[in-house]
C-alpha cells in the first residue's frame, strides 16, 4: 500500500548551504511521525519543502500518489497539506476568529470548522475576539494549529510545537493531538523535546545535518540510541 506522504531523494539548498541531502521519508495515512534532531538538522526545512514554502533542488514530494513538488504552497493546501509554521506566524492585525477563518480560505470538506476547533481548544474559544497581536505563546500555538485544521488537511505539519512554551501549556496542546488524529488527519510533527516526540508519535525519525541517522517505532528506541544519533557521536 502506498503512503500518504512520500518524500524521496529530497535536496534543498539555502543559498549555497545544502540543508537536506537526498532525504527519504514516508508517512502512512493515520500515522503520526515525529522528526527530531538538533539545531540545523533540517527539520524545519523539511516541513517547509513539503508545504511548498521552499523550493526543492531535487527529489520528489508525493501526496497520496500525486507529485506535488512543483506546485506552489497555496495549491498544496487545496490538496490537503497544512503547516503550522515555526514561530506560529499568527496574523497580528486579524483577531483570533479571523485568523481561523483565513485558515478556511481554501478549505476542503471535513470535520473541522469554527465550532469543532473551539471545542478542541476551549482556550482559543475564550480568546476569539482578541487581536492576533496580543496572544501568549501557548495561545498562539493553539490558534496556529486550529487555523491549520480549518483547511481540513489530510496531512498536518506541526513545526516546533513546544519551543519556548511552558511545560503545562505544551501538555495541553499535545493532549489535543489524539483527537486530531482520530478524526482522520495524519500528523508529521517536528519536535525538539524527545519525551514529547516519543509520547505522541507512532514512529520517530532523527535527522542530523540534513540526513536521516535513525528511525524506528517510538517504543523501540532507547534514549541512548537517540542521544548518539542526535549528536552524531
Amino acid at each position: 500500500m502506498s503512503a500518504l506522504l512520500e518524500v524521496a531523494g529530497l535536496d534543498v539548498h539555502h543559498g549555497d548551504l545544502q540543508a537536506l541531502h537526498g532525504l527519504e521519508l514516508s508517512v502512512s495515512a493515520g500515522e503520526t511521525l515525529a522528526v527530531i534532531g538538533a539545531n540545523g538538522a533540517g527539520k524545519t526545512t523539511l516541513l517547509r519543502a513539503v508545504a511548498g514554502s521552499l523550493p526543492v533542488s531535487a527529489g520528489r514530494v508525493v501526496l497520496d500518489g500525486e507529485p506535488v513538488e512543483h506546485l506552489p504552497a497555496h495549491q498544496r493546501v487545496a490538496l490537503g497539506i497544512a503547516l503550522t509554521p515555526e514561530g506560529r506566524r499568527i496574523f497580528p492585525s486579524l483577531d483570533v476568529e479571523e485568523n481561523l477563518l483565513v485558515g478556511a480560505y481554501r478549505a476542503r470538506r471535513g470535520p473541522w470548522d469554527l465550532a469543532s476547533v473551539y471545542d478542541l481548544f476551549p482556550l482559543v474559544s475564550d480568546r476569539r475576539a482578541r487581536s492576533g497581536a496580543h496572544l501568549s505563546g501557548g495561545e498562539q500555538q493553539a490558534v496556529a494549529i486550529g487555523r491549520a485544521l480549518m483547511s481540513n488537511p489530510r496531512l498536518l505539519l506541526l513545526d516546533e510545537v513546544s519551543l519556548g512554551l511552558a511545560p503545562v501549556v505544551v501538555g495541553e496542546i499535545y493532549a489535543a493531538l489524539p483527537r486530531i488524529v482520530e478524526r482522520g488527519t495524519t500528523v508529521l510533527v517536528v519536535e525538539q523535546d524527545l519525551d514529547q516526540a516519543l509520547g505522541c508519535a507512532d514512529r520517530v525519525q532523527c535527522l542530523l545535518e540534513g540526513r536521516t541517522v535513525l528511525e524506528g517505532p517510538a517504543g523501540s528506541l532507547s534514549r541512548d540510541d537517540v542521544t548518539a544519533a542526535y549528536f552524531g557521536i
Partner: protein, 288 residues
C-alpha cells in the same frame, strides 16, 4: 462667500480627493506599492467616459457604469502582467514600473486625444444647487463627496467582512504565511489593484465632469491623492478619507484668504503634517 462656506466647500472637495486617493491607499496597504500611474489612470478614465458619451453617444451614467469595470479589469491585468513580476525584483522595481506605465499612458492619451484641455459635459447638474440654511451647496459636489465617502466605506467593509477582504489583510500582514492558508497572492494582488483602478476610474470620471483636464493633468491628481494618503496615514482607508477632507478644507480656506493660495495652502498643510506627525493622522487601520 464666508468662512463657513469655504469649509463646507472644502469638505465636499475633500470627498473627491478621498475618492481619488482610496485606491492609492489600498494598493499601498496591501502590497506596499506606491502606484505612480494612479493619477494618469484617473485621467484616462475621464477620456474614456468622454469618448463613450460624445463618440458612442452613451448616456453619461451608462458611460460611468461601463468605465469602472473596464478599468478594474485593466488594473487586474496590469497587476498580473507587470506589477507582480516587478514585486519579485525588490521594493524599488514596482515604483519604477508604475512610473513607466504612467509615462506610456500619458503619451498614449496625447497621441489619441491631443494635448488640448477637455471636459465632460454634465448640463444642468453642473449649476444645480440646494440651500442648506444660509448656504447654497452644489448638487454635483454633494454627489461627488457622497461617492467618495460611500466608496471608502464600501472598500473598508469589504476588507473587514468578506472572505477575500480578510485574505487581503492576512496577505498584507505576512504574505508567506498567507500562502500556507491556500491564498494565491498573485490573484489577490490582482483583485486589490482591480479595486484600486476601478475606484480611481470613478474618481477620474468625476474629475472630468468638474474641471478641465488634459493628458498631463494626472500629475496633479497623483499629487493630491498622495497628499491625502500621507496626511491620513499610509495604509489607513479611514485616514485617507480624513486626509482628503483636511486637504480639501485647507485648499478652500486658503483660496478664501487669497484665490492664488488655495493649492499652496494644501501643500503647506501636507508638509506640516509630515513634520509634526510623520505617520499621519490615523496610521495603519486598513489592516487592523
Amino acid at each position: 462667500m464666508d468662512w463657513v462656506g469655504a469649509v463646507v466647500q472644502g469638505i465636499l472637495l475633500g470627498g473627491q480627493y478621498a475618492l481619488l486617493a482610496c485606491g492609492l491607499s489600498l494598493v499601498f496597504g496591501v502590497m506596499r506599492i506606491v502606484n505612480l500611474a494612479h493619477g494618469v489612470l484617473a485621467v484616462a478614465a475621464a477620456y474614456v467616459v468622454l469618448w463613450l458619451t460624445v463618440e458612442v453617444s452613451l448616456p453619461l451614467l451608462l458611460g460611468v457604469v461601463v468605465v469602472v469595470p473596464l478599468f478594474a479589469a485593466l488594473g487586474y491585468a496590469l497587476q498580473r502582467g507587470l506589477l507582480n513580476r516587478a514585486l519579485r525584483q525588490g521594493e524599488l522595481s514596482p515604483l519604477l514600473v508604475s512610473f513607466g506605465i504612467g509615462v506610456v499612458l500619458t503619451n498614449l492619451l496625447q497621441e489619441t486625444f491631443s494635448a488640448d484641455t477637455r471636459s465632460i459635459a454634465i448640463g444642468d447638474l453642473g449649476t444645480a444647487g440646494v440651500s442648506v440654511g444660509p448656504l447654497t451647496v452644489g448638487v454635483f459636489a454633494l454627489v461627488t463627496c457622497a461617492a467618495g465617502v460611500g466608496v471608502i466605506a464600501a472598500v473598508q467593509l469589504f476588507l473587514a467582512r468578506t472572505r477575500t477582504g480578510r485574505a487581503m489583510r492576512a496577505t498584507s500582514d505576512d504574505p508567506e504565511t498567507a500562502q500556507l492558508m491556500g491564498i494565491d497572492q498573485r490573484h489577490l494582488y490582482g483583485l486589490a489593484t482591480a479595486i484600486a483602478v476601478g475606484t480611481v476610474a470613478l474618481a477620474g470620471a468625476f474629475v472630468g465632469m468638474s474641471t478641465q483636464f488634459s493628458p498631463t493633468y494626472g500629475d496633479l491628481v497623483l499629487i493630491f491623492a498622495f497628499e491625502a494618503v500621507i496626511i491620513g496615514g499610509l495604509g489607513s482607508l479611514w485616514g485617507t478619507l480624513w486626509g482628503g477632507l483636511v486637504l480639501g478644507v485647507a485648499q478652500t480656506v486658503g483660496s478664501q484668504l487669497d484665490p492664488a493660495y488655495g493649492v499652496l495652502a494644501g501643500h503647506v498643510v501636507f508638509l506640516l503634517v509630515l513634520l509634526v506627525r510623520p505617520s499621519g493622522l490615523m496610521p495603519r487601520t486598513v489592516t487592523a
